[in-house]
């Protein structure tokens, strides 16, 4: 590791630490219906929205109604996003004529299965992309179908986490808030202002924002190159701040128009963690014990820094085989050293590794480097981060939900060891909570493992609809354990609603479009619904007084316990799978065996 690299990490963490409280206070006030400094500006807009949509601001919902509203909203969003994609040929702002006969050569057709995958992916805040934006979608689709979903799917995520926190904060209450009001407030007061500022800043750094046709230029070597254009900055800001991660371009935040400078890169990763970090403080404030929020923040921070401390050195160390060949792999003044494959020179190893860890800690999924090209251990970190359940700050809203699930489990298992039936934040953790938490965990594990299992052995017939003939594993670029990692990563990423790709998997076939889409839906809704049930059950409970016999859930001990629970549950569930992927690949690499691009079927 270089000192500048370490400094990068430290400065980043300090900045996140600094914004946690102000953002947390702001969100607490906002969702409690109190006035904030933005109210003079945005309150009229908020009121207008309620009037137009006939939302009664003061009425509240039970958890079942809250859930039904979320699902209804998501379903409508899905239909909208699906139709716009399918109809893009008939819609405006399509200078490259995608979806028509005049589409450029090499453009990707927006098939029903791809449109399904993409719509599901953006509605669920996942943004897994089986397409390249610049070769598939019109500006109209990018803006109205995708960018809009970037806003509202993030707002829905925040709404759900606020509802869950209300479950802990309220006593003997039936209701957990109003989904529509939470959705509107999150969109208007959080995402709109931050995205606006973010977009302007990105423009200042060189991100583009236009509706032009793609430019064709002659390079210095004399070759012709098409340079894609579009309204990038407006989609880019919400992509980061809403932890969506779906790039305007195929190469995502590695593209110079999306993420032009090291400074824009820093702001992008700042935007990923800002709101999830703030939500920990909101949690503490809402349950009237700020230490509880800081405890979650601390647990997340430790897991985050641990990830960086594994991934960054692994990348900086690079491939031992190169060193054995006598190549200089150390960082010097003239070169970055380490593993630079798949990384942008303007970012280098530290900020690429940092980006990779952050984007997979949070369920963002934007990438500024190729995770597929990481060393086995360097690539293991993003994969394992997602498998932990996106709880390390996590996506907007999703992180705190997941961490609270683990807190419930940690309290339930270890809380018994203080000789009381377990309680957390004054709420007894009983049958219902344990049942729902376990249900969510089981479904998540099943989602990843079963789909990966099926895709590792499935074979497709000649001239079939689902995939090109032969095994499903033929869609991966590499053989051996690395190929396995590529499949495992895909289902892990969609289940975790992360959306980042290890890459190396050709996912644009009906089989992968549909199975990955399904994994995405399961990962979103079958996680949220049990957690909202928990919220409803908790809200109805009494709040127990804190005594010296109560398990303290704010100290270092609890933070350690929570971290231990997250890691042990994650490790125990996925260790067998990981040992056949990145772990064995690591040991094989040390023995000198690599798994290069191999477009041949391993079964042939």
């Amino acid at each position: 590791m270089t000192s500048i690299g370490v400094l990068n990490v430290v400065v980043y963490f300090v900045v996140i630490l600094l914004v946690t409280k102000p953002l947390g206070v702001f969100m607490t006030k906002l969702f409690a219906g109190e006035r904030t400094f933005l109210h003079p500006l945005l309150r009229p807009l908020e009121k207008l929205t309620y009037r137009l949509c006939r939302i009664r601001e003061t009425s509240e919902q039970r958890w079942t109604q809250y859930t039904a509203s979320l699902i209804a909203f998501s379903l409508m969003s899905f239909l909208f996003a699906y139709l716009i994609q399918r109809l893009q040929g008939f819609l405006p702002l399509n200078p490259m004529h995608f979806g028509t006969a005049k589409a450029p050569a090499g453009a990707t057709a927006m098939t029903p299965d791809l449109a399904f995958n993409t719509a599901v992916s953006f509605v669920t805040n996942t943004n897994w992309q089986n397409y390249g934006g610049e070769t598939t979608l019109s500006y109209f689709v990018q803006m109205t179908a995708l960018t809009v979903q970037n806003f509202v799917s993030a707002a829905a995520g925040v709404a759900v986490s606020i509802a869950l926190i209300r479950g802990f904060a309220r006593k003997q209450a039936n209701n957990i808030g109003n989904f529509w009001v939470d959705l509107v407030r999150a969109t208007l007061y959080i995402f709109l202002p931050l995205s606006l500022l973010g977009a302007l800043f990105l423009c200042s750094q060189g991100a583009i924002q236009n509706f032009r046709k793609y430019a064709t230029v002659t390079t210095m070597e004399g070759a012709t190159q098409t340079i894609a254009q579009g309204p990038v900055a407006s989609q880019e800001a919400i992509k980061m701040v809403g932890t969506n991660g779906g790039g305007f371009f195929n190469t995502n935040s590695a593209h110079p128009f999306e993420n032009p400078t090291p400074l824009s890169n820093f702001v992008q990763i700042f935007m990923i963690f800002a709101i999830p970090a703030g939500l920990t403080y909101t949690f503490g404030m809402m349950v009237a014990d700020k230490r509880q929020g800081w405890a979650l923040f601390a647990a997340m921070s430790v897991l985050f820094l641990a990830g960086v401390l594994v991934c960054y050195p692994a990348e900086q160390a690079g491939n031992p085989l190169l060193a054995k060949l006598g190549l200089e792999t150390r960082a010097t003044n003239l070169q970055s050293g380490g593993n630079m494959e798949g990384k942008e020179v303007r970012f280098g190893i530290p900020t690429s590794a940092l980006f990779a860890v952050i984007t997979t800690d949070a369920s963002c999924g934007a990438v500024n480097s190729m995770h597929d090209s990481y060393t086995p251990i360097g690539g293991l970190v993003p994969l394992f981060n997602i498998q932990l359940g996106e709880v390390v700050f996590g996506g907007v809203g999703a992180g705190i939900k997941g961490m609270l699930l683990f807190a419930i489990l940690a309290v339930f298992i270890a809380g018994l060891m203080v000789g009381r039936t377990p309680e957390y934040i004054g709420k007894k953790i009983e049958q219902k909570e344990v049942k729902m938490a376990m249900l969510a965990l089981i479904l998540m594990a099943a989602n990843i493992l079963v789909f990966t299992g099926v895709s590792s052995v499935a074979k497709f017939a000649q001239n079939g609809y689902w995939n090109s003939p032969g095994p499903a594993t033929a869609n991966v670029n590499n053989n051996g354990p690395h190929g396995f990692s590529e499949i495992l990563y895909a289902y892990t990423s969609t289940n975790g609603n992360n959306g980042s790709a290890f890459a190396g998997l050709n996912g644009n076939t009906p089989w992968y479009n549909l199975s990955l889409g399904l994994a995405t839906l399961i990962g979103r809704f079958l996680f949220i619904i049990p957690m909202l049930a928990v919220a409803g059950s908790l809200a109805a409970k009494k709040k127990l007084p804190v005594t010296s016999g109560t398990l303290p859930t704010h100290g270092a001990l609890f933070v350690g316990l929570l971290i231990g629970t997250v890691i042990i549950v994650g490790a125990l569930t996925y260790f067998p799978a990981l040992s056949l992927g990145p772990i064995v690949e690591h040991f094989l690499m040390r023995q000198g065996k690599l798994f290069s691009m191999a477009f041949f079927s391993i079964w042939s």
């Binding site: 060891m417 594990a445 127990l544 109560t550 125990l572 067998p576 056949l580 064995v584």
Partner: protein, 702 residues
Amino acid sequence: MATFAAPPVLDETTLLPKKLAHSRPLFDPPIVRRAVRESLVKLNPATLAKNPVMFVVEVGAALTTIFLVRDIFIHASGTGFYLQIALWLWFTVLFANFAEAMAEARGKAQADTLRKTKTDSMARRIAPGGAIEVVPASKLRAQDVVICQVGDIIPGDGEVIEGIATVDESVITGESAPVIRESGGDRSAVTGGTKVLSDQIKIRITSNPGETFLDRMIALVEGAERQKTPNEIALNILIAGLTLIFLLAVVTLQPFSGYAVSSAGSGEIPSVAVLVSLLVCLIPTTIGGLLSAIGIAGMDRVIQHNVLAMSGKAVEAAGDVNTLLLDKTGTITLGNRQAVEFAPVDGVSGPELADAAQLASLADETPEGRSIVVLAKQAYNLRGREVADHEAHFIPFSAYTRMSGVDLNGRRLRKGATDVIVQFVIEKGGVIPPNFTEMSDRISRTGGTPLAVADGGRLLGIVHLKDIVKGGMHERLEHLRAMGIRSVMITGDNPLTAAAIANEAGVDDFLAQATPKDKMEYIKKEQAQGRLVAMTGDGTNDAPALAQADVGVAMNTGTMAAKEAGNMVDLDSNPTKLIEIVAIGKQLLITRGALTTFSIANDVAKYFAIIPAMFMATYPALNALNIMRLHSPQSAVLAAVIFNALIIIALVPLALRGVKYKPESAARMLRRNLLIYGIGGIIAPFPGIWLIDRLLGMLHLA
């Protein structure tokens, strides 16, 4: 208020008394024999299905056995290894069954003892006309009236409606000293199966056959009515959920390894036996196998303390209690007040006051009176004198005069409440010394009771009577506070006296001049704030509060109404027992949590044993994970399975006895238990599996 038995001797550091009424050694040979038999019976899949974790193990064992039989028939190689796996998987199930059977057997043995006493006696029933008819006890119904004489076994639970008798209740309580049962008041309840030792009583039967206290007691100790407690159900969901997750992880390992094998071009997909072994090692068999044993043993521990808990839920709730309502008299203080000081008024000497007080108390057989005689002897060496009846006229205490004393040689010595004695002195033409009121107030303020002494019209002074707080009570309440439990003293005393005693004993709050209604309201107020309340009671007027409290412990000497309202009955009628019950409840929960944590933590090592072994042929590079350096794949798998089975049997004593419990704050307790069962649980299997691997190598078993 009934009188209470002396509390058991306490160890300073624990809340659990050492000597237990119904204790028996942990591994009693007849109990072990019975448990071994039972553990085979429990292999029945229909019964085992109630325990999802062990059911999965049994299915796995059966699968492995079926494949073993197939292999033997087709003369496949490696059957020795598979045979050992199958055997150890069956042992895993048997060990878990044994743990449960052990816990149950202890209760069953006790139930047998109780049943022996339940002979079908004959009862003398009074027919409506008034004639006495002899009927079998089993024919008695509620509301029947029977007569019992010396030597009769009382035929059923009932209420004495006429007469007084001494009764031997040792069948129920284990206490051989007879107790008095009489009509009216709080000592009217009799229990079927107990024996009348003297006199004759008329009893109204209150329970139908099969529903008597003895029947209930048998059912309880036997565990026949045992229902899973809410926490146990929640824990069961957790471990069943974990089992499912591991099932997914292991089942999907089959296609994963299918890919790995074809990709690496070597090795083979792990056999069913090895996959089952991995599954059984991962699923929480330790807690799954011991969970019900922990619950049964917890109930058994309550019974060993001579307390009958009507449900396991009540025992669990006891661990959660935030507020303990303790009666002052008999619980916090010794039953009686004692004289501690003679405070003469100006112009009277100490010995003079002591002499007068002693004379006035000579015929007073109350503990207070006796303590005055004793104090006079200790303080001024005044011996108790024999006073002949002809020269003395004793005036006994009466509720009307509220004083007692003696007329002796023309002296009229009186002692009593200050206001009464003041009136007596004024009537006799005396004057009240100026500092008297001040003295009496001083004693009241410190929690004492001032007892004025007068010699005719001359007021001599005050005897300071004091409630004596039981030895060690302060420390015990301190322990409770450390555990986050508030203690509240309930007393009929005035607030001033109550405050002083509360302060001396170290309770957190007190309820003075408490009526049953006050108690009830206090409980409701606490519960409204989310607290769980425990209390003891014996009178009929305690019944509503006992029912309202989350943990209500009725004294066995109490009325039937009280016993029915509470969710526990203390057969020793010792109200201090509440503190022990709380400790048992906590110990039960801690044991569960500790073994769950241990069970999950164990998995880490098992992965390191089995995963490299599984893929040794496919990916020899994975041997880097074989950090225990187990000598062969077979022995690695076998060692993990054996360790997993043996740990169950090794932890049976812990499950039955409960983990060591020390009253301290939750934070400290968590730190210690996490260290032992969490970190310890991660580390322990490494040397264990390594050792078994070496042994297997030495014995050439793998």
